[in-house]
């Protein structure tokens, strides 16, 4: 199993991407995509020895929709801030988010989510990997931003990955 | 109606391309210039997609895809170069 299929999700993803690239769903496309999806993980297996473990894959789908909703909702507020708020009244600040997550994949997903949801950008990770530096565009109360990130995203990611 | 909307969008994307170019020329810091280039690449992808819609062909999507990849790689390469003085260590 692990010899032939080192990363089953990667294989599936490669088949889907191949079909989208060709832009048709015929037998030939799927067969060729499967060949590519089987060969590429084996050829690159040496570069990622540890497959990321996803404990509850279905919650990841739910998480995806939560993030899309957050992006849509917060994009409007950021557009309004950018267009109508004078620079002086904008209180941008640094927020430090202490991390409960341990696996690199989960931290990467969390940092990506923070950047994609408007108003916050994840800027840096502390040297030991236990806290994340986040820049908030307009945050009068930095602690609220931190609590929001922790309850809304980090708790869900902890369920999914650990 | 779609034609009118496409024309309006062409103008809007052109304007935002010009604004990004102003920041590219003015930008006091290196980070601003890299960011302006990144924005210009994204606007260029939008222009290519619009052109594909306007002429009703699909052959432009490959070029939009390639533009997205090249833009990402060049942003990362520029940032790496500024950060470390080297791209591949």
């Amino acid at each position: 199993m692990s010899r032939i299929l080192p990363h089953p999700f990667l294989t599936l993803l490669l088949i889907v991407v191949w079909c989208l690239l060709i832009n048709s769903l015929s037998l030939g496309t799927v067969v060729f995509g499967t060949i590519a999806g089987l060969l590429i993980p084996i050829a690159t297996a040496a570069y990622w020895p540890h497959a990321p473990r996803i404990v509850r894959p279905f919650r990841l789908v739910f998480y995806f929709f939560v993030v899309v909703w957050e992006i849509l909702k917060a994009n409007m507020t950021v557009a309004m801030i950018v267009l109508f708020k004078p620079n002086r009244e904008m209180k941008s600040s640094w927020v430090t988010v202490p991390l409960d997550l341990k696996t690199p994949e989960a931290i990467t997903v969390l940092a990506g989510t923070i950047t994609l949801t408007p108003g916050t950008v994840s800027a840096d990770l502390s040297d030991d990997g236990y806290s994340l530096l986040v820049h908030a565009l307009d945050a009068p109360h930095p602690d609220e931003v931190r609590d929001e990130i922790k309850t809304r995203f980090e708790r869900r990611l902890k369920d999914i990955f650990e | 109606m779609i034609d009118i909307a496409i024309h309006i969008t062409f103008v809007a994307v052109g304007i935002s391309q010009l604004l990004a170019m102003v920041r590219l020329l003015r930008g006091p810091h290196v980070g601003d210039r890299i960011l302006a280039l990144d924005t210009m690449v994204i606007n260029a992808i939008a222009l290519i997609v619009l052109l594909g819609m306007y002429w009703g062909t699909e052959i432009y999507f490959e070029s939009a895809m390639i533009f997205a990849m090249l833009g990402f790689v060049s942003t990362v390469a520029l940032a790496r170069f500024v950060l470390r003085g080297d791209i591949i260590e």
Partner: protein, 119 residues
């Protein structure tokens, strides 16, 4: 007719967010603030345009899902470029406020540079 309206609406939404991204790039006054406007508004702007193009393709042509690939690619790569540009800003000390100290450690990863690097 309704499809036309939908396509036109998505096009205008996309155009609006692209312009907002560039206006923010020009208007905001510090490098870290400027990072906020384009990286998000642009991804949503291009996302809306791609959605319009996809609806257009399904309504008037054979239909294509190519655009999903571009959208997914942009959404995966946008945080990474933003992160690297933020690191460049920190490295050049182009931040308007000093960085807070991390709770368990004394420096952030970008500030941790060796005393002399042999190039």
């Amino acid at each position: 007719m309704i499809v036309d309206l939908l396509i036109a609406a998505w096009l205008i939404i996309g155009a609006f967010f692209l312009v907002v991204g560039s206006v923010g790039l020009l208007k905001l006054d510090s490098p870290m603030k400027r990072l906020h406007a384009p990286t998000k508004a642009s991804t949503l702007g291009v996302g809306a345009l791609l959605l319009a193009s996809m609806i257009n393709a399904f309504a008037y042509h054979d239909g294509s899902l190519h655009e999903v690939l571009i959208m997914a690619f942009l959404f995966v790569t946008a945080p990474i470029s933003a992160h690297l540009i933020a690191k460049v800003n920190i490295h050049h000390e182009a931040t308007d406020q000093p960085l807070p100290t991390p709770p368990n450690d004394d420096v952030w990863a970008t500030q941790d540079r060796p005393a002399d690097r042999s190039l």
